[in-house]
Symmetry: C2
Subunit: 289 residues, 2 copies
Amino acid sequence: MSPAQHLVAVLGRGVVDPDAPILSADDLGATRGDGIFEVTRVVTTEGVSRVDHLDRHLARFRTSAARLALPAPDADAWQSLVHEAVAAWHVPGEAALKLVWTRGRENVPSGPTGYLTLTAQDPAALAASRAGITVASIPRGYASDAFGDAPWLLGGVKSLSYGVNLAARRAAAERGAEEALFVSTDGYALEGPTAGLIVARDDELITSPTGATGVLPSITVAVVTEAAEAAGVRVRRALLRPADLPHSQGAWFASSVKGVVPIVSLDGVPVPHDPEITRTLVAAAGFDR
Amino acid sequence: MSPAQHLVAVLGRGVVDPDAPILSADDLGATRGDGIFEVTRVVTTEGVSRVDHLDRHLARFRTSAARLALPAPDADAWQSLVHEAVAAWHVPGEAALKLVWTRGRENVPSGPTGYLTLTAQDPAALAASRAGITVASIPRGYASDAFGDAPWLLGGVKSLSYGVNLAARRAAAERGAEEALFVSTDGYALEGPTAGLIVARDDELITSPTGATGVLPSITVAVVTEAAEAAGVRVRRALLRPADLPHSQGAWFASSVKGVVPIVSLDGVPVPHDPEITRTLVAAAGFDR
């Protein structure tokens, strides 16, 4: 791996040396995964950068913070930090902007820790993903209604405790697939470790319900389905089974950095792929530019 | 909160300023909870410190690393770092020694990050816990056999992704209890967020099975039950229901820093407490000195 171009900015400090340590050994984000994050895309063309849907990401950041009983992140302060970071960023192409908010230090009164990273994305890797990915279904261990009365399970929270999400991706790789699709104990397709699920069937778009399912309210799924509805396409929130995907018109993972990515096979079984629908969804998500 | 006396040592560097940052913004331990930890107790008397069961903790550390597909931590290097840290530690009383091993930096080839912290414990808080704690049962969302065929769920792994464990403790506090007892969807008492469960019934000791239950193999539980068996007490691994606890001879949470702590009530219902059994278990765990 060669180093990726990257930038770091710390709340209250501004842009800092990206290779200088910024977190103390006892930061609860590091020792307990006790914090939250957001990720969105930054596109830089001719020295000018735009940030995708920052307001929506800051709103979800605030919701995640409340769910974790963290102090509310100050939207103005974060917006200023993002603007400062983006102004200092001149790498052409696409980058991932990550916001991190932790409970702060355990041994010293510190208040929460807030920082962001901007990381250039490899255009070849992005293009390969966007051409289509192979997926393996990975049992999630929870029923599809496990999170309704159990807010402490952190369903729908973008928390720093993503160890299982990464382990699921490794399990998918062991099965020869590029990505994982989480499946509930009662047999429903939920979401990917870092992406929402969209399925086209009977000329409507179907996405996983959030709430009791524990599925994260995906901003990219919301942007796509809002555009689809505005264009007269019917959108439904419903639980499908993995076996439904090969019989659909197509299935996609939607996420803020990769955009709308066609699932070309699930557990080795081909999933239909209609490039026309993909183009429409990609454009709806704003990933055609 | 007043600052706790603490020390930090980094693998490959040794003891460092505990208030100087040591982790980069893109360390996967911090951004994804992608790493592991161990905690044990250090007791310092007249300037001499001893570390509880370091070999057993390093062995479990190694098992956790394998489960997360992390490079194996080098036991010799960690032992040296612990010895260096303990030699520099002169705070009388009990301290928590935490070892942390993360997947390292995401944007720069770095190899894993390894460090330890030593943190003085508040004697009054320890004494209050050890006198007995109130507990609330908190549903864990998983069945008691959820982890058997699903290693990616990280059952039994001491991972840095402990967000749910801390949220469960907050949920217990909202119910007016000092600690949480995780309960499976099929109604079994499993463990605490950071402690194993021991129950005395019919003059035998019962502890939760590990493996498919996802229960962490507790070193303190192992030390206590080995001593009990050596003293002729029968020990069984079996799943009990929360409702069994008020009808037992006593129930305890066992962990490496707090030791063996009696559960005095569960969901507001008193749990019997026999100080004689507690004294025996505490001594077996080595917490009488």
